[in-house]
């Protein structure tokens, strides 16, 4: 029996509605350490207008943001800070690794620079470029919106597994000190 609905009513699932709300109001946490940060600022400014995608509210507090944008190289002294900020962000949250340095270390193949943040924390989207143009970052945010739309649930079931196995990550034990047996 087909249900008679007026034209101005849309039928959807609550899960999809929740994802739709989330993807259109991303609050970026700008972790800008290098020239990628300038492009990130350019993306947020009037010419490229990140507000068109609902992600213009940059917050410098991890408690108020749900999209970590790592823009620039991360040195080994900075990585524990980055991890701590990521752990302080509330679910649901996502991470964009912006530029060659954040993704791979870029040209900085030295003892002090982490060769890609994805070795030590989750990344949802990579943006190539050195630095990427604002259009590329916008494309990454659009792609991330698609990803959010596909995965989310109203009750956050996708995070339930994380809640169950949540362990306290002891960042104070991070030893960026002695030699490591793992390969370079």
């Amino acid at each position: 029996m087909a249900l008679e609905l007026p034209d101005n009513v849309v039928v959807t699932k609550l899960d999809a509605l929740a994802s739709w709300c989330r993807k259109n109001s991303l609050w970026p946490m700008p972790f800008a350490t290098a020239c990628c940060g300038i492009e990130l600022m350019g993306t947020g400014a009037s010419r490229h207008d990140l507000a068109r995608f609902g992600a213009e509210a940059m917050r410098f507090s991890p408690r108020q943001s749900d999209l970590m944008v790592v823009a620039g190289r991360v040195v080994m002294k900075m990585l524990p800070v980055l991890q701590r900020i990521w752990l302080q962000m509330n679910e649901p949250k996502w991470c964009i690794s912006m530029g060659a340095c954040a993704s791979t270390g870029g040209v900085f193949d030295t003892y002090a620079v982490v060769q890609g943040i994805d070795r030590f924390m989750p990344v949802d989207m990579y943006v190539p470029g050195c630095p990427p143009r604002p259009e590329q970052l916008l494309q990454a945010i659009i792609d991330l919106q698609d990803k959010i739309q596909q995965g989310g649930t109203l009750a956050g079931r996708e995070f339930a597994r994380a809640q169950r196995s949540r362990v306290l990550v002891d960042l104070s034990a991070s030893g960026p000190c002695g030699p490591d047996e793992r390969a370079n």
Binding site: M76, K77, L79, P80, Q83, W86, L87, K93, D109, T110, Y111, A112, V113, V114, Q115, R119, F120, M121, P122, R161, A162, S165, R166, V167, V169, D170, L171, A173, S174, G175, P176, C177, G178, P179, D180, E181, R182, A183, N184
Partner: protein, 182 residues
Amino acid sequence: MENEPFVPGLAGKGGHLIALEEVLDALKLQAGVLDMDAFRGQWRVVVDSSQLHATLKRLKEAWQFDMLVDITCVDYLQYQHATDRFGMVYLLACTERNQRLAIRVLLNEPNLVLPTVTDLWAGADWMEREVWDMFGIRFEGHSDLRRILMPEAFAAHPLRKDYPRQGRGERHNFPVVTRDQS
């Protein structure tokens, strides 16, 4: 006197021009001065490490080298014709006479210790911490000789030439934060 033109190199009102050569001549007679030479007009004096502090003190107090421009170090490992491992460099300037002078001290393992000059120039504090961090040269008498650039628990001195450019794996020695943990 009011209309006296500014002459770089004139020491104070009514003073006579103290040429850098005068300073160098005086230094030649000082104990612990091993060598001096010039490259493109810039003079460099090699001093024995035991006489370093006395020499710098005299340059500051008797010859008005009031500004410590920089303290840095060179690792001469695998350097052609090098006889010593490390060369400490103290770059001084006399702001009154517009003169510059480089003081060098050659150091070899295991005696990588020098007296601090923070009592002469307070600005030497962070410079000596940087040299300690990057080259592992200790400064006796420094009040707070900690690493300044690398993490405190870092084990090596990365600007030494026998330290590999990509490190010894320190940059990968972190706990991994996964989706399940965050």
